[in-house]
């Protein structure tokens, strides 16, 4: 958590081009160009339970849960994969589902006790679909970190340990 205090407001007719708005919070693309004043976050989701550092207590029924959001509108659907993206199942959204707001999704999952890779993929009401990490990097390079919205993968080991993976 990083609390910011609003100390002053100055109204200007054009950007001041301060250090942070030019050299820090700009997204350097793979081709050397940089995106500036990129305010909206594109459609994104992440599974928060289970997630890195947690341990599943044995095979059986578990609830997968996470949050999705889009700076361009309302979350229309979230799909979840437990096989690293080979197959997807739509996860019901939990009301309220509001524009530009965190949206909770849940899906019951019967874990068979073998290694698995969990992913979530959100779609917003503009039709935008959260990309795989590789697709995001192919489009934007390795340095556009401030607006990274690729799919997040968690590996589940046979002993239940959940870890961050690129998959």
């Amino acid at each position: 958590m990083s609390v910011k205090w609003l100390r002053r407001l100055k109204i200007v007719s054009a950007p001041i081009m301060t250090k942070d708005e030019t050299s820090r919070y700009t997204d350097l693309q793979g081709d050397g160009k940089s995106l500036m004043f990129t305010y909206p976050m594109e459609v994104k989701s992440v599974i928060t339970r289970p997630s890195h550092g947690m341990t599943l207590q044995g095979a059986g029924l578990h609830q997968i849960s996470g949050i999705a959001w889009s700076g361009n509108g309302t979350i229309r659907k979230v799909e979840v994969s437990t096989d690293g993206g080979k197959s997807w199942t739509e996860a019901p959204l939990v009301a309220p589902v509001l524009s530009r707001a965190l949206t909770r999704f849940r899906l019951p999952w019967r874990w068979d006790g073998t290694a698995a890779v969990l992913k979530s993929r959100a779609t917003d009401d503009t039709g935008a679909v959260q990309p795989e990490r590789e697709k995001f990097i192919a489009d934007h390079g390795n340095n556009a970190i401030f607006h990274f919205h690729g799919i997040q993968a968690w590996s589940v080991a046979a002993n239940g340990e959940v870890k961050h993976v690129y998959a």
Partner: protein, 182 residues
């Protein structure tokens, strides 16, 4: 000045005074916290410099005088001749932005020279911000621009010359929002 005072000063600039209840909605009493910012306080904070040079103060400096200031006030954090370490590298990196290991410095990345002046004046040296004179800030700015090969070693930076400096990466920024030219 406490954080709460600063917030109240900020509010004072917007709504015309924390002490006055006249601006509060539907006649509610304000908590009467804080006090109005003085013209001197506002002037001290109102130091932003735009890319067109608006806000630049009188003064001047050259790379030669800037080298002296840099060695005394900046080098301990930014290395000899802006080479970096322990903190940000300030020089070089040209031609690396499209590579796997881009080096973003003032010279290779920053789109406007005025930003160097604005940032150094308001924030540097890190442990003693706003202790440099305007001449010293112009000089350090000139020194860093010269080290990056952007201005000549005898070029003087002042309120007229600095906004005219063309930074090499300026044309590589794409403004996403609001969309321009429509």
């Amino acid at each position: 000045m406490s954080t709460r005072d600063l917030v109240c000063v900020a509010l004072a600039l917007v709504v015309g005074g924390c002490a006055g209840a006249s601006m509060t909605p539907s006649g509610m009493e304000s908590p009467n916290l804080g006090r109005e910012a003085t013209p001197g306080q506002i002037a001290g904070w109102d130091i932003s410099v735009g890319p067109d040079g608006v806000g630049l103060p009188p003064g001047k400096g050259t790379p030669a005088t800037g080298a002296t200031v840099y060695e005394q006030k900046c080098q301990v954090c930014h290395g000899a001749k802006g080479a970096g370490q322990p903190n940000d590298r300030l020089v070089g990196g040209h031609g690396t932005l499209a590579s796997k290991a881009p080096v973003r410095t003032i010279g290779s990345y920053w789109p406007y020279a005025t930003t160097v002046f604005d940032y150094v004046r308001r924030s540097m040296p890190y442990i003693q911000p706003q202790t440099l004179s305007d001449d010293e800030v112009y000089a350090v700015t000139a020194y860093l621009l010269n080290l990056n090969g952007i201005i000549g070693e005898n070029d003087e930076m002042n309120a007229q010359t600095l906004p005219k400096v063309k930074m090499p990466n300026q044309s590589n920024f794409i403004v996403v929002y609001p969309s321009r030219g429509k």
